[in-house]
């Protein structure tokens, strides 16, 4: 006889959960946008599927990403996830071997010790009993760590841990009860029938038979009920990440990405967030400005429960530090961007007033300085000097009547307006005879790369200068000033340009800073955050500046005019853009063209 009424809660809960998940995943995958569906279909029957399976194993079960952040934290997640997974697998194996068939009732594996009270004689029975108890112990150890983390997160290497909603608390409590109840239930049954392993058996021996016979059924009921509550609460809690993360990993390996507009893939990403809270520690609004309620984890939580406020959507630097650290690899910046998007009004055109300037000369390069660069004119003059030294003919496209690249508009969600700006600039660029577009501003650079459809390649001036140096068009004097390079958010994490500036700076004594490359700190001057209080912005800037100038470099080098402006006003160190430091140290043995370079670049910005 392998049925008892107490299995009903578990079975009902599991069935409901299964149905809900299938329905949601179906709904989301069918509402992927056309581009995503196309790219997924292309990649389903390729090696990417194998890669996806391997990633599911590595990340969803073993949690390698979290291990790298903090081993104890990684063990905690792994023991719960992988431990439970193995319990299910081995439990099924054990139940099938016992019943002699593959199609035994699903609850048999879960409540095995209750139903299989006679001494086991099937294959591997002793080993399996041992394994089950061992896995239970692992899971319980992970649970203990989770409990400690909730009480004192710093012991597990996390400065702050997520505050949870009430659904989460129900799910959390029932989850935490499942395994202790299983332990007690199995031990109580062992007290009566001696069918436990090393763990349940030892505890079973401590339980007097009188108490056991009276406690046995209530404990199994409680175990089943806690499973029921957990399954039913799961789709509305953070634990939805357990099934959905697997779906996410497959779709991501098949090439899906968040894109410009909301789609089913966005919902999948939102439901894959496990609320682990790692993004809180990496957010500068948290540790430099003490603003603790707008981080990505809260943004996602509010989106799920439909309580998203304007403040949370808008108060983000979009610096990308959180996406960089997210162990699930969610595209947090793109998702937040989607929620900023405003409705589009068909048939309405903006920026009709902008004057288009055409240039039909035979030029090599179009130079687009960017709006902000006009406020740091020494970058413009450095670039002019570099062009002149390399004898490159160029058209300074936004010298007089520049049109903004459109990305600041885009970041505030005004998609339609941004598209109009893109069209205006694209027309001017595509109708010229240039072969390359060079820009000084990383924001414009990212915009050109991602939002424009140009018929010529685009480079940031760091890439271009590196190219000029490598092809020996310009030569640098050796110097021995010490420099620290700051990776701007939009250039580094935004477009992956890390090495080119460093190659240029090999000429100088480049110091290494703690937070660099993907871990670089935002200068605080982000255009994505239109509502941050100025004082908090300055706090973020001061913190970043302190970190960068710890080793007292002669000069702080950056590649973005916004970063330069932010840091200069911080008054801690001399700040120069890469173009400036190159122009200062160029070996000019040719007479620089008078027309191009009429004002001598003087003004010492570092003490030599």
């Amino acid at each position: 006889m392998s049925f008892h009424p107490f299995v009903i809660p578990f079975t009902a809960g599991a069935a409901i959960l299964f149905a809900v998940i299938v329905y949601k995943v179906y709904k989301w995958t069918t509402s992927l946008d056309r581009k995503q569906k196309f790219i997924v279909k292309q990649n389903i029957f390729t090696i990417k599927t194998i890669r996806a399976i391997s990633e599911v194993f590595r990340e969803a079960l073993i949690h390698r990403n979290i291990y790298r952040k903090n081993p104890v934290l990684g063990y905690m997640h792994m023991s719960l996830a992988f431990g439970w997974f193995l319990l299910i697998v081995f439990g099924k194996v054990k139940a099938s071997l016992y019943a002699g068939t593959f199609f035994e009732p699903p609850w048999l594996a879960i409540f095995f010790n209750f139903f299989a009270v006679e001494k086991h004689t099937f294959l591997f029975s002793t080993q399996l009993t041992f394994i089950m108890d061992f896995l239970l112990l692992i899971v319980l150890s992970g649970l203990a760590l989770a409990f400690i983390k909730r009480m004192k997160s710093s012991l597990l290497g996390m400065k702050k841990t997520t505050r949870h909603s009430s659904f989460d608390r129900i799910a959390l409590t029932s989850l935490w009860l499942i395994f202790p109840l299983r332990l007690l239930a199995e031990s109580t049954t062992d007290a009566l029938h001696s069918n436990g392993g090393f763990l349940t058996g030892s505890i079973g021996q401590l339980i007097p038979t009188s108490a056991a016979s009276f406690m046995e059924l209530p404990l199994w009921w409680a175990y089943s009920l806690s499973l029921f509550f957990f399954f039913v609460a799961l789709p509305y809690s953070r634990y939805m990440h357990i099934p959905i993360e697997v779906v996410l990993i497959f779709l991501r390996n098949w090439g899906a990405t968040a894109g410009e507009h909301h789609s089913g893939y966005t919902d999948i990403q939102i439901n894959s967030c496990s609320r682990c809270g790692i993004c809180i520690d990496s957010c500068q609004l948290n540790f430099a400005a003490q603003l603790g309620n707008v981080q990505s984890v809260y943004f996602i939580r509010d989106t799920r429960y439909n309580t998203l406020s304007d403040e949370v959507v808008n108060n983000c630097l979009m610096c990308g530090r959180c996406s960089n650290e997210c162990p699930v690899g969610l595209e947090l910046t793109l998702v937040r961007q989607q929620y900023r998007n405003k409705e589009e009004i068909p048939g309405k055109f903006y920026y009709e007033y902008t004057k288009s300037i055409e240039n039909q000369e035979n030029i090599d390069v179009i130079y687009y300085a960017g709006c902000m660069t006009h406020l740091t004119p020494s970058i413009i003059h450095s670039m002019k000097k570099i062009f002149a030294s390399a004898q490159v003919s160029y058209w300074f496209m936004d010298e007089d009547k520049g049109v903004c690249c459109g990305r600041p508009m885009r970041q505030q969600g005004f998609v339609q307006q941004a598209k109009n700006l893109v069209i205006k600039n694209s027309r001017m660029i595509n109708s010229s005879k240039a072969k390359l577009l060079v820009t000084s501003c990383p924001i414009c650079y990212k915009s050109f790369k991602e939002e424009y459809n140009l018929n010529i390649p685009v480079m940031h001036h760091t890439e271009y200068i590196e190219k000029l140096i490598n092809s020996k068009k310009i030569k640098l004097k050796p110097t021995n000033i010490t420099a620290v390079y700051h990776d701007p958010c939009e250039l580094g994490r935004g477009t992956g340009i890390y090495e080119q500036p460093r190659n240029i700076l090999k000429n100088f004594s480049l110091l290494v800073s703690d937070n660099e490359r993907e871990n670089s700190l935002c200068c605080g001057g982000s255009l994505s955050n239109a509502i941050l209080d100025l004082r908090l912005q300055l706090k973020i800037r001061d913190h970043a500046l302190d970190e960068l100038t710890k080793e007292r470099p002669d000069v702080l080098v950056t590649a973005c005019p916004l970063c330069k402006k932010s840091f200069v006003h911080g008054n801690k160190a001399a700040v120069m853009d890469i173009a400036e430091i190159v122009a200062k140290n160029i070996v000019t043995n040719k007479k620089v063209s008078e027309k191009v370079y009429s004002n001598e670049l003087y003004g010492v910005l570092i003490n030599e």
């Binding site: 006009h374 406020l375 740091t376 004119p377 006003h569 008054n571 009429s598 004002n599 003087y602 010492v604």
Partner: protein, 342 residues
């Protein structure tokens, strides 16, 4: 002899005036000046506003005062440390020598805002962008010339550079730049009657006696033009001049023009010496200026007994105010030395 009655840190107008008043009252004074020359920023001035008083006359008056027997001047002597033990104040110079006095007067003055922080105005990038200090020096030599050694046709003055500016952290008004701009524009017109002079302002603050009259005179007799609008970008033109862009707020239209020289009226900040010493003795106030005990009732004293303040180490002041402040400080120090009760 390393012991004296009063040590004065700073040999500018405040320091010298206070030294003289103390010396006249039979007090022994050591005056430390870190530069090679006395008079501090007064060395830059050709004339003093509002009445175009010849600055060199005032300088020679002050020089006479320094010759009093009771004053001993130490040039090229910067002060590194100041501290007090039970009774006396000890001052250690940068060269390492120690001096003792019963009282110390901080008269370490100000420094000017470094205009390179306002990069969009082109200082340090375009030769035609100069500071008010550099312009005054040009005037002193009698040669106001464009960077290409020609006579300028147009000179623009931009007020409030480095003052009233949240971006560089100086929210305060430097008081003297408005009247100084009026003075400089008149000087430009005196030297070059044909030049056009434009003053770009956010406000015109004529807060002293005869200031408003000078402003009026600049319009009436010298044809100086005033435009209410803040220049926010400077760019070079094809013919090697500077193009400035601003909004003419009074007519609510954008305005641009080419100029030969752009003079930035840079503001006043606490000097390095002021902020260092103020921090050492615990009296550093807002923006690193030195903080007096009470603005209204004890402006020369500090919370440290025997430590006094005079002049622009406290806040931006005009020359007459600085001299008056120095005399007040001398009086206070005199009472302190004699033990006269409050």
């Amino acid at each position: 002899m390393k012991k004296t009655d009063v040590i004065i840190i700073g040999g500018g107008p405040a320091g010298i005036e206070a030294a003289y008043d103390l010396a006249r009252n039979d007090v022994q004074v050591f005056l430390f000046e870190k530069e090679d020359e006395l008079f501090g920023h007064m060395n830059i001035a050709a004339t003093l506003f509002p009445n175009f008083q010849d600055a060199s006359e005032i300088r020679s008056l002050l020089l006479q005062k320094t010759k009093h027997n009771n004053i001993k001047i130490f040039k090229n002597t910067g002060v590194a440390k100041v501290h007090k033990d039970d009774k006396d104040w000890h001052v250690q110079t940068e060269k390492g020598e120690e001096y003792t006095a019963k009282a110390v007067l901080l008269a370490s003055g100000f420094k000017t805002f470094d205009a390179k922080y306002k990069e969009e105005l082109g200082y340090g990038i375009y030769k035609g962008v100069i500071t008010s200090v550099e312009f005054e020096e040009m005037y002193k030599e009698g040669k106001i010339l464009t960077p290409y050694e020609k006579k300028p046709q147009r000179i623009a003055f931009l007020n409030c550079v480095g003052s009233r500016d949240e971006k560089v952290g100086n929210h305060y008004c430097s008081r003297v730049c408005c009247i100084n701009a009026v003075k400089l524009s008149i000087e430009a017109k005196k030297l070059l009657p044909d030049v056009e002079a434009y003053c770009f302002y956010m406000d015109i603050r004529m807060s002293g006696q005869f200031y408003e009259e000078l402003y009026r005179k600049s319009q009436e007799d010298y044809n100086v033009n005033y435009i209410r609008g803040r220049i926010s970008e400077v760019s070079p033109t094809i013919d090697n001049r500077l193009q400035i862009k601003c909004e003419d707020t009074l007519s609510q239209t954008p305005l641009k023009m080419s100029v030969d020289l752009l003079v930035l009226m840079i503001g006043i900040e606490a000097s390095e010496g002021t902020s260092m010493i103020a921090k050492q003795v615990g009296i550093n106030g807002e923006y690193s200026f030195a903080k007096s005990l009470s603005l209204h009732s004890a402006d020369n004293k500090t919370k440290n007994e025997g430590f006094f303040l005079a002049g622009t180490c406290k806040r931006p002041l005009t020359m007459p105010e600085t001299m008056a402040d120095a005399r007040a400080a001398a009086l206070e120090i005199g009472y302190y030395l004699k033990g006269v009760p409050e």
